[in-house]
């Protein structure tokens, strides 16, 4: 499958029809998605219509956007006026949004063809997509294994060649970890870089939309399309404070005098095969002349505890609106309005969502607020300062994305705490708000992909992508595709 950039260039140059590209992906989806389970909904007719519009524009010599005719998938927690926006939850199974998310508008402006909406852990809560209330998605490298999560459907779809690229959302690693498990590139931009308008909120102060792509160039291309201020999202950063850059412009230029920081005690927690892959990646950078320093991130270990207080607190409030009163699932067994709430929510939310709502409600309760929520905010500040200090010393941080490669379906579902702990490398990044990327850097002995995580300072996605591209140019991990 062509990358988004390659395909767009071919289509724009008239060397290929968008309609043919769309046909290719739908043929493949029809062949394998019943096994893979990446998509919750598909929009074949609409996709062909959109492809035709693009092909007509090109035939007429009109200018076309940066994703002209390119088949793109989006995670099903982004609102669209077409189809349902389910968040993989029974409570929103039939919810049709009357508006498009900001990123959907941006994709349309770029002439992309949105082919379908991808599976996820219910309300983006999870690390394996096993918490989807609607569907099971499997890992294209090994169908007994999870694709990661929560953007598991998006990652699996990109890895299996069911789309040229996809959008996911990342609250505690939900783009980077499935990208790592599926062997694709996943970028979480700086908090505030991409508008959250139309993204169904999980943890509002942590959520960020980003691309999952076949290579670093495509990540830059998609970021170019979706980044920027949106007045409908007060937390999206104004151009005057952090202007959007052309992330493709300098992508091929290596960062001169690159200084990389690593955190030895963190890496030691990963599987040997993961540790080795990270060492090999660092070796690649060394061979390119990079300097590698070892630093300490003293508060990193508290990230998971702080995250599961802050994210669940916000979630308990964000998900309060799903009550069976105004829209979405309503219990038929309710006898009064209080039961409309309690029964609708009880019947339609999955176990993990309920667990997090209860955790968050508890943390915010009077008498516990100071001990949990307020303390977590303090930890968050300490973690931020850890990152600030790190980026004072080095251009970027490198570490694993996940301590393991993709695990087996059902392996961790009985032990939520184990599942939470696996997010150790990705979670602190969301608490600090900095950008992070996962790029393929090797395979373990079971031929499962391993991701290298690179982190850099706020709004330095341009540098982050350039650093990622340096590694990509020297290796071919990203070109390996699952035999699916």
């Amino acid at each position: 499958m062509d990358t988004a950039k390659q395909l767009r260039d071919k289509i724009a140059a008239g060397r290929m029809k968008s309609a043919d590209a769309v046909k290719t992906v739908f043929d493949r989806i029809e062949k394998i998605d019943s096994t893979l389970g990446a998509f919750l909904s598909l929009y074949k007719n609409q996709a062909f219509e959109q492809a035709q519009v693009v092909d007509d524009k090109i035939a007429a010599g009109q200018p076309v956007g940066h994703l002209a005719g390119v088949p793109i998938a989006i995670k099903d927690n982004m609102c669209t006026t077409f189809g349902a926006t389910t968040c993989a939850s029974k409570i929103l199974e039939n919810f049709h949004a009357p508006y498009n998310a900001h990123v959907v508008e941006k994709l349309h402006e770029a002439d992309a063809v949105i082919i379908g909406k991808c599976n996820l852990d219910e309300f983006a809560m999870g690390s394996s997509t096993e918490n989807s209330g609607l569907k099971q998605t499997v890992n294209p490298w090994d169908t007994d294994r999870v694709p990661g999560g929560s953007s598991g459907g998006s990652a699996a779809a990109v890895a299996a060649g069911l789309c040229c690229g996809a959008l996911g959302s990342d609250t505690g690693g939900s783009i980077r970890q499935p990208a790592s498990f599926c062997g694709v590139v996943g970028l979480k931009p700086t908090y505030g870089r991409v508008s959250r308008y139309g993204l169904v909120a999980y943890g509002s102060s942590l959520d960020q939309i980003g691309p999952l792509t076949q290579d670093v160039t495509d990540a830059a291309l998609l970021l170019n399309v979706i980044a920027g201020h949106d007045q409908r999202d007060s937390t999206s950063v104004p151009e005057t404070i952090a202007p959007v850059k052309d992330y493709l412009a300098e992508l091929e230029t290596p960062v001169k005098g690159l200084k990389i920081a690593t955190v030895p005690h963190l890496n030691q927690g990963a599987d040997p095969s993961v540790q080795k892959a990270i060492q090999d990646a660092l070796g690649v950078y060394k061979s390119l002349g990079a300097e590698i320093i070892e630093i300490d991130m003293p508060n990193f270990d508290y990230a998971i505890s702080a995250y599961y207080v802050i994210a669940t607190a916000e979630a308990s409030s964000n998900l309060a609106r799903f009550d069976g009163v105004h829209y979405g699932y309503r219990s038929q067994k309710a006898n009064d309005y209080v039961e409309v709430y309690s029964k609708s929510r009880d019947e339609a939310f999955g176990t993990e969502v309920k667990r997090r709502i209860m955790l968050g409600t508890y943390a915010l309760s009077s008498g516990y607020y100071d001990a949990y929520y307020l303390k977590a905010l303090k930890v968050r500040n300490l973690i931020r300062s850890d990152f600030t200090k790190a980026f004072d010393q080095a251009d970027c941080l490198m570490m694993p994305v996940s301590p393991t490669t993709a695990f087996k379906i059902g392996e961790k579902t009985d032990d939520p705490l184990q599942m939470y702990l696996a997010d150790i490398y990705t979670i602190a990044v969301n608490l600090a708000g900095v950008p992070g990327i996962s790029i393929p850097c090797g395979f373990d002995e079971k031929n499962l992909p391993i991701g290298l995580q690179i982190l850099s300072g706020p709004f330095s996605e341009d540098k982050l992508l350039r650093i990622a591209r340096m590694h990509e140019k020297q290796t071919d991990w990203h070109t390996r595709k699952p035999n699916f």
């Binding site: 926006t85 949004a97 508006y99 998310a101 509002s204 007060s234 009163v325 915010l364």
Partner: protein, 487 residues
């Protein structure tokens, strides 16, 4: 039992709808009484993925009110979520302000019956979004109208500094006058622009010991009369209850009451304040607001003289009665129009009469304010001067006022064109007087000799002279001449 010595203690929570064009966190226009759910969007009905964006004007209106209430304005303020489940609250949390309200620690001066004012301390004022409305009149089910959801709502909390129903009423009226002067709210009670929740209890002294009765919170009062009557009722009820049970204020035994306007009684809604846990936390969708000196200065420049100060000044400087000063300062347009007209030099009482008797009536009929009638303050002053000088009669002044409003012309020109100038030439009038006296011998006789009929006869003769002058003779001179000649 002997009558108890007691003191009434009342604090007040007031909700004021701000008169912004759009809602607090979205672009929907404010609506009152429109078809249900026609002023809504994804944000104010809490659709997933929608995000609030602060209405800057609403915050500016609030800060302006805070300044008028002598509050300290915070340089850093933020938004919090207040969680509770109710069908009229679409997100099941209300965006409000918890620990860092935009303003705190002020006071409001209210007029008191003995004259002068009393200071009532303001604890805090914060901004929040209003909820929608549940409708229970459709039979077997309830409906929700979200037109009101998201309306900017200013909540003002006073200290318990009021000691009578009348003082609470006075505060409510004074606040209405202030927000109208500032132009931040229409403060129309019937439209629910202002809602009041008094917290009432009594400090009863018996045998030298002070007993505090349990606090009652009366919810959602939306008329001045209901405020005063419900508090008066609570005073009676609490006194009675204390005599019967001796119950006193303990931790947490605040009860919530509603006001039944038909029965004129308060009705218990919740015995004990349920252990409400609103789980406040900072709203991550909104950025905190920094109010810097430049911005605050700009808002300060929009402040005007407050109505109570104007009222006191009008009474003191212009010698007006408290009543007149109160009528003139009921709205800002009238007050300022009056104040400007007086500066053109005429008797303030005369200007006041013209403005309150004719001006306000006319403005009311036209559904506007006196400054919009087409009359300049200068011309009003001229008219007052003409009336005082006897150039025109008081009746004629009304006619001229109306004509001024219709045409915008100068009062003297109107008076001349309409032949409304009074004749004050003694010689001319004397001739008319003589003629009338000659023609009405009987009345002259009565006036001179019959004390019983003298007054009536004088009135008749005056009328005849004025009639002969075609209404133009100055009645003062007519009566002086008649008196002289009939001695």
């Amino acid at each position: 039992m002997a009558e108890l010595d007691y003191k009434i203690i009342v604090g007040l929570e007031i909700h004021v709808h701000l008169a912004t064009r759009t809602k607090m966190f979205c672009g929907c226009e404010l609506a009152y009484g429109d078809t249900a759910n026609t002023h809504v969007c994804p944000v104010c009905i809490g659709m997933p993925g929608s995000l609030p964006v602060m209405n800057k004007t609403a915050l500016e209106f609030s800060i302006l009110t805070g300044l008028a209430l002598n509050c300290q304005i915070a340089s850093f303020t933020k938004w919090d979520r207040k969680s509770y489940y109710y069908p009229d609250l679409p997100k099941n949390y209300q965006i409000s302000q918890y620990d860092l309200p935009f303003s705190e620690h002020g006071y409001i001066e209210i007029p008191v019956e003995s004259g002068g004012t009393k200071k009532i301390r303001i604890l805090r004022a914060h901004l929040e979004e209003d909820a929608g409305k549940n409708i229970h009149t459709l039979g077997n089910f309830s409906a929700v109208d979200l037109n009101r959801a998201g309306t900017p709502l200013l909540e003002i909390v006073t200290e318990p500094d009021m000691n009578s129903p009348e003082e609470v009423g006075a505060l409510a009226r004074e606040l209405q006058r202030i927000v109208r002067f500032l132009g931040v709210s229409e403060a129309d009670m019937q439209k629910g622009h202002m809602r009041f929740e008094p917290n009432v209890n009594l400090h009863i002294t018996r045998n030298g010991e002070v007993f505090k009765t349990p606090i009652s919170e009366v919810k959602n009062l939306n008329s001045f009369r209901a405020i005063e009557r419900s508090i008066a009722y609570e005073v009676r009820r609490q006194l009675h209850e204390f005599k019967e049970t001796g119950k006193t204020l303990q931790m947490g035994n605040k009860s919530t009451y509603g006001w039944d306007d038909n029965q004129q009684v308060t009705v218990l809604q919740r015995e004990k304040e349920e252990a409400h846990d609103y789980r406040y936390f900072p709203d991550p969708d909104l950025v905190p607001v920094e109010v810097n000196d430049a911005w605050l200065g700009e808002i300060k420049s929009r402040l005007c003289e407050l109505p109570i100060q104007m009222q006191l000044r009008f009474a003191k400087d212009y010698g007006l009665s408290d009543y007149d000063a109160g009528v003139l300062t009921a709205d800002r347009a009238t007050a300022e129009f009056f104040d400007t007209a007086v500066k053109f030099g005429a008797d303030p009482k005369r200007i006041c009469n013209l403005l309150t008797q004719t001006g306000l009536k006319l403005a009311n009929e036209k559904g506007t304010t006196v400054d919009q009638l087409g009359i300049t303050p200068e011309n009003l002053a001229k008219l007052a001067q003409m009336t005082d000088a006897g150039d025109v009669s008081a009746t004629a002044a009304t006619t001229i006022f109306e004509e001024m409003a219709a045409t915008g012309s100068d009062p003297m020109q109107i008076a001349e064109a309409k032949n409304l100038i009074q004749k004050s030439d003694v010689g001319q009038i004397e001739a008319l007087v003589d003629a009338v006296l000659a023609e009405n011998a009987e009345a002259v006789e009565d006036a001179k000799t019959n004390p019983k009929k003298a007054k009536k006869a004088m009135g008749f003769l005056t009328g005849q002279v004025i009639k002969k002058s075609k209404g133009q003779a100055n009645p003062k001179i007519v009566s002086q001449l008649l008196n002289k000649k009939l001695k």
